[in-house]
Symmetry: C2
Subunit: 363 residues, 2 copies
């Protein structure tokens, strides 16, 4: 770690690869010899076009997806997708099916409900979302327009370790907090989206990777900016895109490629998670994990300490040790340490060491 | 001008103050001693809160607005506002009134029409938008929910030089291309919005400055992310905001303050525009301005040359001389030189000199 930088365990916005930040900093006043900052360059310029299309191509390559998939960049956060998805794909007669596996999964369902187009296909709310529902628990409605899942639940620290089988019903996944963190058979998903501010870039753009057949035609009467066909037909350039965010996403995708792709990310993330979960499991009950072991997230590790006082102390002392953002979400309490792609192994090592020392001093 | 930098006359994204870019570059890896980049910092962190709220306060101060106005930050570009405005403020029985003064003004109207909530109160389409409609030409419908104007028309190079009188009907203005470029009695507007990528920052956020009474309650049944009351009640932090863009807007607002505020901006912009319009008016007809003189924009100067061939040559030779982005929009043809707040006087001087030399060589 560079002097003055901390290990940032915040759930998002969160750490970006230092190499990526340094590259952006170095060319901040003069992008690609244009004499302009990337912030100042026209979105109709050839140089921006290359950034935009290369980012798309690299993402599809990393995901192993072919010509039947398209990449879109949309503003408004995943929350805007909670609205656009039922507006584009559901009707009161053909309802969006939702699995409630956490806070954002439930918010997505709520938005479909505002439109009278939602149906709960499974839920783990009764156990405070400490695991994701199993395949057996999923009951689709007869009129299912799609099944929506939140693939990694940031707040509760759970993640799917299987891909739900839905037959002919399109599978839609919010992957905001685990996008490009591990290889999956992405072709089983019809529509994937992710607010990029956790694993891929700065807040301000949502990545959509979807089957072209889902994007070609939106319902009549829908306003222009809420239609996927607007973004699809104009290569996400109907209006000025959030160019800087897309540029950073492109740089991060290139960085993932340079590191060896999703297999390497997954291997690293597994090792990193093992360090932190190890510190929990070997604490003689001083630390208790929130998530059931078979639903544990590789991205967000949530745990409690014996008292809230100790939890506060933990967060404060961690920060003094250069480990920032360990405080958990109020709905779970305790600690949440987010260890996305850009968190170095050394950061998790330092965290696990700190956990061990803190336990010994306070148990 | 620094070595390697050009004068960028693009219509947006466009030039930002070099001081602002340098400041952002210097603290890019470690914002405010947080050990994190501004790209990585949590939007719930105290340090981000200060950025967010200071930007709001500085903008209101620059506009001379009081406690009855609120500042929001929303994603999706001005185009998303074209949708949200009629969704929040109009109904089929109480229609949004629109003045068609150019391309974006017409797009805003079209979105209201998709919802069956639009009415044309005035138009200068029949003269290819070479001036903005006068007060006398504005005929509000009896059921007017608001009057929407596009205060500066980027593509056609026209700008309002009066504030439309609307009586009790709220006045809504798209100021994307002239926001904070001159002092106005902003209290005559009920709702002002601007995509920031022309005069205030990088693409990726829309600034809304509106009467609180407009924002307090949105219609029932509207999805969360399309409701102004969501943004209002949560200080634009319902979900993760485009933090970097807001940070840059804040820095630019602070820069405007440090330069002396809107009076100083207006004085500079007037002098800059006079240089370029002077080069047109003193060209013996070699250059012909698109806009009528009484509607001329201080921000976007549009003009034609005798032939399209010469126009191409002009753009190419201008670029060789460090003057980028002078090509006009296809709907007007010719040249468009955008001279927003961040364009230095020297840039306009250089442009006027170039225009004179080019004329002499090619007349």
């Amino acid at each position: 770690m560079e002097a003055n930088r901390v290990y940032n365990f915040n759930p998002g916005p969160s750490m970006l690869p230092l190499e990526v930040l340094k590259e952006a900093q170095a060319e901040f006043l003069n992008f690609d010899n244009s004499g302009m900052s990337i912030l100042e360059i026209s979105h109709r310029a050839k140089q921006y076009d290359e950034v935009h299309n290369q980012a798309k191509a690299d993402i599809k390559e990393l995901m192993g997806l072919g010509d039947d998939y398209e990449v879109l960049f949309i503003q408004g956060g995943a929350s805007m997708q909670f609205d656009m998805i039922p507006m584009n794909f559901a009707t009161p007669e053909k309802r969006g099916n939702y699995i409630l596996s956490g806070s954002f999964a439930s918010k997505a369902y709520k938005e479909a409900e505002i439109l009278g187009r939602g149906y709960v296909a499974a839920s783990s709310k009764d156990v405070n979302f400490k695991h994701v529902p199993t395949q057996d628990e999923i009951k689709l409605s007869d009129d299912a327009a799609y099944l929506h899942v939140c693939y990694n639940n940031t707040i509760f620290g759970t993640e799917y370790h299987y891909i739900p089988e839905t037959g002919d019903v399109p599978l839609i996944a919010d992957m905001s907090s685990d996008i490009l963190s591990r290889p999956l058979d992405f072709s089983k998903f019809s529509f994937i989206y992710a607010g990029v501010q956790k694993n891929l870039g700065p807040a301000g753009v949502v990545l959509v990777v979807a089957k072209k057949s889902m994007l070609e035609k939106s319902p009549e009467g829908l306003p222009t900016m809420l239609r996927y066909d607007t973004f699809y037909s104009k290569n996400s350039l109907y209006n000025t895109p959030p160019a800087f965010c897309i540029y950073m996403v492109g740089k991060t995708a290139k960085w993932i490629k340079s590191q060896g792709g999703l297999e390497v990310m997954a291997e690293r993330n597994k090792k990193k998670a093992a360090l932190v979960y190890g510190a929990i499991d070997n604490s003689n009950g001083f630390y208790t994990g929130h998530a059931d072991k078979d639903s544990r997230s590789f991205m967000n590790v949530t745990f409690r300490l014996p008292t809230e006082e100790l939890e506060k102390k933990f967060a404060a002392e961690a920060l003094e040790n250069g480990l920032a953002g360990t405080k958990g979400h109020r709905s779970v309490g305790g600690m949440r340490t987010s260890i996305y792609n850009a968190m170095p192994y050394e950061g998790c090592e330092k965290l696990a060491d700190f956990m061990e020392k803190f336990r010994k001093a306070n148990a």
